[in-house]
């Protein structure tokens, strides 16, 4: 099986003032198989979000290499990274990051604009996804008018809209009841069948049974 993502000796630290720094990740080595569901677990503050945003090219590591689809992304320009995200990635943020006061369906369609998809096609795809995630009846509502769980699903719909090869989901089920969570997991299993690679972070272990691969973080290190 081929690897979709490989990390080699990854470090990430955030400068704090002049001489201080917070080390969020230390010496991460991991490889994720194509077409699988990978789970990254660990307690709060262990570095899950940091790792996911580096894998999603949303920030650069302080040290180490990230290889996505056989390309070393460290060497890519910002423009090339943006293209990579546009063409191959979908990201669900832990705090959703929806665009305020913009109707749900339009929030979903924004990643399609750089791809040059026309308005009616964009709307069609957005409504289809919202339907699948049980949000169709809320499609004209703005994020402010949605509950936490609804926003989470809206953010998931946006992550899915460009039909990405790699899905990075930061705590996708933290705010949802069991029935809805199960529905989402079913959807993710279907996507895996289609060959998509899915990387999920979660601080609790109840998704363990779903995962093909599991990585446990603790204090910024991988533990076996």
């Amino acid at each position: 099986m081929s690897k979709i993502i490989i990390c080699e000796d990854l470090y990430k630290s955030y400068p704090l003032g002049r001489s201080n720094e917070v080390v969020a990740l230390t010496g991460i080595n991991l490889s994720i198989e194509k077409g699988t569901i990978a789970l990254i677990t660990g307690p709060s503050g262990s570095g899950k979000t940091t790792l996911l945003s580096i894998l999603g090219t949303l920030e650069r590591p302080t040290k180490g290499r990230v290889i996505i689809n056989d390309r070393t992304v460290n060497e890519l320009s910002d423009a090339a990274l943006a293209r990579l995200r546009r063409d191959t990635m979908g990201f669900l943020f832990q705090d959703y990051n929806l665009i305020p006061r913009l109707p749900a369906w339009e929030n979903v369609t924004y990643p399609l604009i750089p791809l040059g998809v026309n308005t009616s096609e964009r709307k069609k795809r957005a409504l289809h996804l919202l339907e699948m995630l049980g949000l169709y009846h809320r499609h004209t509502h703005t994020p402010e008018q949605l509950s936490g769980g609804e926003r989470q699903r809206l953010s998931l719909a946006r992550a899915l809209v460009n039909d990405p090869e790699i899905l990075l989901l930061d705590e996708p089920t933290s705010n949802i009841d069991h029935k809805t969570a199960e529905r989402i997991m079913q959807l993710l299993r279907e996507l895996r069948e289609k060959g998509k690679s899915i990387i999920i972070s979660s601080h609790d272990g109840h998704l363990l049974s779903e995962a093909d691969q599991t990585f446990q973080l603790s204090g910024g290190r991988l533990v076996e």
């Binding site: 945003s53 999603g56 949303l58 920030e59 650069r60 910002d78 423009a79 943006a82 293209r83 995200r85 546009r86 063409d87 990635m89 990201f91 943020f93 990051n97 929806l98 665009i99 305020p100 006061r101 913009l102 339009e106 924004y110 990643p111 399609l112 604009i113 750089p114 791809l115 040059g116 998809v117 026309n118 308005t119 964009r122 946006r158 460009n162």
Partner: protein, 389 residues
């Protein structure tokens, strides 16, 4: 298709950040309106000056009277006509009068000159006891051919410090059209003989307008001066310079003030565009995180600024138009036209062209761009996770 999509997003952004859009537009309008007004006035004055200089005579001859312009005998005109190079010498009687609170100029010239000076669009040339008036004045006073107009033509005595004014009723024989608003919109014309009678000037006139062959102008001026040392001769170029000096000096002050205002406007625009900046930064980072390129985000910001400029500029032009046309440029015209107070007694010359609108759009765009380009560029080039934290 992509560009259309980005344009849609830009429009949606402006609508979502309504307050910011509104404040930025207001600010721009405040900055751009005086600028547009100045442009329209300068254009108007330039055109006006050109027309009046073209229409005006080459030399004006008066008699020196204790250092002021004094009356000159009418028959001098006939003498001047004999000078080699003189095309025409027109005796004129000029007087300022108030008609229903409006300052007008009453001009008496020979009938055949009236015909040449103005274009009668309605009615005929005046006989004794008749006048012709400009279209604007006719409209303002509700006059038409055949109407009667009572003019307080002359102060005959001062009784208890109040002037005793002789009034006469004139019949409007015709209405004329003229492009020159400063000098002839509130012009009342009558035959010179009639004017001389009213003013009891016997055979004197206010001045003699001389038209000459341009190559012999200097010789003509010298010849007139030789006729009588007390003749005062003013040439067209002096009049032209005077017009120019009038608005260049005042225009200069305005340009100075305006440069100052422009410099002040930049930090204002920076602050104004800064409203809701954190939220906007976050939104741009979201777009970048979900696959937008830096140049697409910048394009979006550019569209936003263009739309803002396209709203602000016509609003500025409209306000300026109302200010200049309806309120006659109160408090701004004085900066450009010499010798008027805050409220001009005549219709100020204003010329709005397509270029005025283009300039307004251009400067609005410059200002919005100056106000937002740095923060937008910074945001669009920072890794999204850093902004989203």
């Amino acid at each position: 298709m992509k560009t259309m999509g980005i344009l849609t997003v830009a429009t949606a952004n402006l609508l979502r950040h309504r307050l910011r859009t509104f404040v930025v537009v207001i600010c721009l309008v405040v900055i751009i309106t005086p600028f547009v007004s100045a442009l329209a006035l300068l254009e108007g004055i330039k055109k006006e000056a050109l027309i009046s200089v073209q229409e005006g005579a080459d030399l004006y001859v008066t008699m020196d009277m204790y250092g002021r312009n004094g009356m000159i005998p009418m028959e001098v005109a006939d003498e001047i006509k004999k000078i080699n190079g003189v095309l025409k010498a027109v005796p004129r009687v000029i007087s300022r009068i108030y008609v229903e609170g409006r300052l007008c100029v009453l001009l008496g010239i020979p009938l055949d000159e009236i015909e040449e000076t103005v274009k009668i669009i309605d009615g005929k040339l005046p006989d004794d006891g008749e006048i012709v008036v400009g279209r604007a004045l006719a409209r303002a006073l509700g006059l038409e051919v055949g109407s009667n107009l009572s003019l307080g033509v002359r102060v005959t005595a001062i009784i208890d410090h109040s002037p005793f004014i002789m009034k006469r009723v004139y019949r409007v024989a015709g209405v004329f059209d003229s492009d020159t608003s400063i000098w002839s919109s509130d012009l009342i014309l009558m035959g010179i003989d009639d004017a001389i009678t009213i003013y009891e000037m016997e055979d004197f006139v206010s001045d003699i307008a001389v038209y000459a062959d341009p190559t012999k102008l200097q010789d003509v001026a010298d010849a007139i001066q030789q006729m009588n040392a007390y003749f005062r001769i003013q040439s067209k170029s002096i009049a032209k310079q005077y017009v120019k000096r009038g608005f260049n000096r005042k225009g200069g002050i305005f340009v100075l003030l305006y440069t100052f205002a422009f410099i002040l406007a930049i930090p204002v625009m920076l602050i104004v565009s800064g409203t809701g900046l954190t939220e906007r930064k976050k939104e741009m980072a979201i777009l970048k995180a979900t696959g937008w390129q830096t140049d697409e985000v910048l394009q979006m910001a550019f569209f936003e600024n263009t739309i803002i400029a396209l709203i602000s500029a016509p609003v500025s032009v409209l306000i300026s138009y109302i200010w200049l046309k309806l309120f006659n440029g109160a408090f701004i015209a004085q900066m450009f036209i010499a010798e008027i107070d805050s409220i001009a007694p005549f219709r100020i010359p204003v010329q709005f062209t397509f270029g005025t609108l283009l300039m307004a759009i251009f400067f609005s765009l410059i200002f919005t761009l100056v106000g937002s380009i740095y923060s937008t560029w910074r945001t669009a080039t920072t890794p999204p996770a850093e902004v989203l934290r």
